[in-house]
């Protein structure tokens, strides 16, 4: 969901701070203007928190308390029954999602670093065309490849000795492959400015080959791009539903798949559903809260000139 640009992924400060004007922040304009500004900002905060409030209060209610009258109030009796039920339903798929998202993050970043380095510094003939074709692969609706993809993966699975290739394994392969374009873009943008071409030239003069240069000069300074790419891939593998729906089932699928089944029953038990939503969102929310600026770095990679 991004586009090409020459800018590096702005890691340290993704959205730059206002250049100082000699005034403390928030002291510009009239008092009335400032009050209005903060009132609006707070009103939007409340709007954004509405669904999160519903999630939290409902998850701590008992099933009996989720009637229409009490839906928006705090629980009259706090209960963790919903959380317990959600945990017992979601623990196995949560674990599968952890394996999925971590493997995808690591593998994608490694591939991305190789690709990004070449596209930034060691351009071969036709590199621009190849890179543009990569970028287009990032934007396609996956519906357009799902039918052949499903067929090929089933074919691989039915080969002798390959019956283990199912569920999470399929998803790991799929997310690594469809993550190639965005990771190549993140690393290319980073290397374009973080690695001065002069250093590479110097290494060449000293007789270091491409592989050696990559391993001893480029990799050691790649940490910021690794963080951005890994967070991006972790989040998209964790949050994916489309591939999970087409390629897995309730016994081998990730948490998004099982969560949707949990919520789709005939007699929904809202406390456990809402607790389940929170459980399934916790890892990505934690990543966002702790590593927020890198998360935004992935989001912005590209789309800004």
């Amino acid at each position: 969901m991004t586009a090409t640009t020459t800018e590096p992924v702005p890691v340290a400060e993704v959205i730059p701070k206002r250049k100082t004007t000699g005034r403390a922040p928030g002291t510009e304009g009239t008092v009335a203007g400032r009050t209005l500004r903060y009132a609006l900002l707070l009103a939007f905060v409340i709007l954004i928190f509405i669904p999160l409030y519903v999630l939290l209060v409902t998850s701590f209610k008992t099933s009996g308390q989720v009637n229409a009258r009490e839906a928006w109030t705090l629980p009259s009796l706090w209960s963790v029954a919903g959380w317990k039920a959600a945990w017992s339903a979601l623990a196995p798929p949560l674990w599968r999602s952890v394996v999925l998202a971590v493997s995808v993050a690591v593998l994608s970043a490694m591939l991305g670093s190789l690709n990004g380095f070449v596209f930034a510094k060691w351009r071969f003939r036709g590199a621009t065309l190849v890179f543009t074709l990569f970028l287009f692969g990032m934007f396609i609706p996956y519906q357009a490849i799902l039918i052949p993809l499903q067929g090929m993966l089933i074919q691989i699975q039915s080969m002798p000795g390959m019956s283990w290739f199912d569920g999470i394994w399929k998803l790991i392969i799929v997310h690594v492959i469809y993550g190639i374009p965005i990771c190549a873009l993140i690393f290319r943008n980073y290397y374009a400015t973080a690695v001065p071409t002069e250093i590479l030239e110097a290494a060449k003069v000293d007789g270091a080959g491409t592989l050696r240069t990559f391993a001893s000069i480029v990799l050691p300074i790649s940490a910021p791009a690794f963080v951005v790419a890994m967070i991006w891939q972790f989040t998209s593998a964790w949050n994916d539903f489309l591939f999970a729906l087409f390629l897995t089932n309730r016994n081998n699928g990730p948490v998004t798949y099982v969560l949707n089944e949990l919520a789709g029953g005939q007699n929904p038990d809202y406390p456990s559903i809402m607790a389940g939503v929170l459980l399934a969102s916790l890892p990505t929310l934690l990543v966002y809260v702790i590593l927020g600026k890198y998360f935004v770095g992935g989001l912005m990679s590209g789309s800004v000139k």
Binding site: A3, L41, V45, P51, F136, F241, S303
Partner: protein, 301 residues
Amino acid sequence: MRKSRDGLVGFLFVLPSIILVGIFVYWFIFKNVSTSFDRVTTRATKRVLHDGGVSNYSQLLGSPDYQHALFNLLVLTVVFVAGTMLFGLLWAILLEKGVTAEGVFRSIYLLPMAISFIAAGIVWRWLLAPGKGDQASGLNQLLAMLGLERFQSGWWQSPNSFSMAAMAIPAIWQLSGYVMALFLAGFRGISEDQREAARIDGASEWKIYRHVLFPQLSPIALSALIIIGHMSMKMFDLIYAIAGQNSYKASVPSTMMWTQLFQQGDPTAAAVNATILLVLVALIVIPYLMYTNKTEKGMRG
């Protein structure tokens, strides 16, 4: 000499990725398109389901179900794009001058993006429940508590043809923060001197936005428009989670494709649908990629 060898080594670095993208993106697109041209007859009765070739496309394009899905997609996209642009720009304007705790506001506005569409969709399914009066729950009940009963709605289940607009509400909730981040970075990229100069010339704040700042943000507005617009065309998880599988009321091409494949067992129709969706997305993305490529070369040259 050395140079061409380095180019070769570089090429070998990316070769595995080129092969994988080649197969999993381009070869699969080709296979999907070729499936979409299949001639299909039922095994038992030899009744023709699809004539094959281009007529498969006119068959789908002519079907009322597909036209309904396309119309829904149009309504969803217009409201989704307009809503995210409006809130994104408004939040960026509120924040761009620097306010106390700017980082906190920014993080909160972006927070919904960290949640999966499927998780968000499950909450919004409850929030957008259509019951009114005594049956009210979700947002309708909140409106009643605030004394705003007259704004109660059937949301996406309202009996009118524009009900898909309500489906854009959760989508706007999730992605406005993203558009804000784009615009905010844009505002910060404009040097302070330009504003000062305009101020010295006696321009009002509104005039500074209108004539100095906004024109410089138009490339960012275009990026946001394309990114949100193409996300809307691909939107699946959120609609699936809110409306459930097989909802006709909330059907769009991407959810219809699931129904065609899994409920109707008709991969040919699903492939036709997916190919048209790909073309629609390509129509807005390819010119955009060419445009950014060109401006990039301009910046380099």
